[in-house]
């Protein structure tokens, strides 16, 4: 465990070192946070402190940026991330009912993670698959033409996989 942590820290450190050689190192903050999140799955205070020291950017600024953008998670996420598209096309075609069914099935709200750590529920803006509306993206896979029942069935299938 410790070694993976070190490897990640080293990778983030290298990335930041590269950013520091560019003409405006601080402007790469968002890219650095993307990198950190891809390594750690979320942005912990400790990681943000690391970025703060390495890049000489105030922690309050990093915190402000991390909390501003939807893309950044400040808490660890579940094994699977469910992104329910609430774009217009999906909305018109019943995304809200699908969302409600998912919430009820998982007993969690938006942005939360199930107790067993299996699912995190998120809202997505248009996923660009409007022709298939309503759609839900689980991890990288898109499920289209959903009904509340279909959505719940898919979740059950994921549970079984485990």
């Amino acid at each position: 465990m410790e070694t993976t942590k070190d490897i990640r820290a080293a990778e983030l450190g290298e990335f930041m070192a590269r950013c520091r050689t560019s003409p405006r190192p601080e402007s790469h903050l968002i890219a650095i946070l993307h990198k950190a999140q891809s390594l750690y799955g979320y942005l912990s205070n400790a990681v943000m402190d690391e970025v703060s020291e390495a890049m000489n950017i105030p922690a309050a600024h990093i915190w402000g940026v991390a909390t501003f953008y939807h893309y950044f998670n400040l808490k660890p996420k579940g094994k699977h991330t469910i992104a329910v598209c609430l774009g217009t096309a999906c909305y018109v075609k019943g995304a809200e009912e699908v969302l409600e069914a998912i919430k009820e099935e998982l007993k969690i709200g938006m942005g939360e993670t199930t107790q067993d750590g299996l699912f995190t529920l998120q809202e997505a803006r248009c996923l660009g698959a409007c022709g298939l509306a309503p759609v839900v993206m689980i991890d990288e896979k898109i499920y289209g033409g959903l009904t509340p029942k279909k959505a719940v069935d898919i979740l059950k299938a994921y549970r079984k996989q485990r």
Binding site: G128, C130, G131, L132, I142, G144
Partner: protein, 118 residues
């Protein structure tokens, strides 16, 4: 002095010969839509079918990916351009359908009319 325009014209000629070198002049060209929307609709599986067919020796076919043409509700789309025939575009293609397209259209020359976008 060589002008940028001359350079580009030369580069285009080279590009076209490279494309031709990759088999563009084959009797049949197959284009599979591979934008996010198409992939979401399942075009990766479709592409795999064609790739596999080509790997397994399907001759006379030039296979290429393309971007989204905007036919969202009919995705994934597959286009077959054939020498001497009106090109066709298939809509809502699944892996199974792709296999049929390989067998019936690409191998036997039959346009599967029911699947063609009119």
């Amino acid at each position: 002095m060589v002008s940028p325009l001359d350079i580009v014209k030369k580069k285009r000629a080279e590009a076209i010969s490279r494309i031709i070198g990759k088999g563009y002049l084959a009797p049949k060209r197959v284009y599979v839509g591979m934008a996010t929307c198409e992939i979401a609709a399942g075009s990766k599986d479709v592409m795999e079918v064609f790739e596999k067919a080509v790997r397994q020796g399907l001759a006379g076919v030039y296979l290429s990916q393309k971007g989204c043409a905007g036919r969202c509700n009919l995705e994934p789309t597959v286009e077959v351009v054939e020498e001497g025939r009106i090109p066709v575009k298939y809509g809502k293609v699944t892996a199974e359908m792709a296999q049929q397209i390989v067998e019936r259209h690409l191998k036997k020359g039959e346009t599967i009319k029911d699947w063609v976008i009119k």
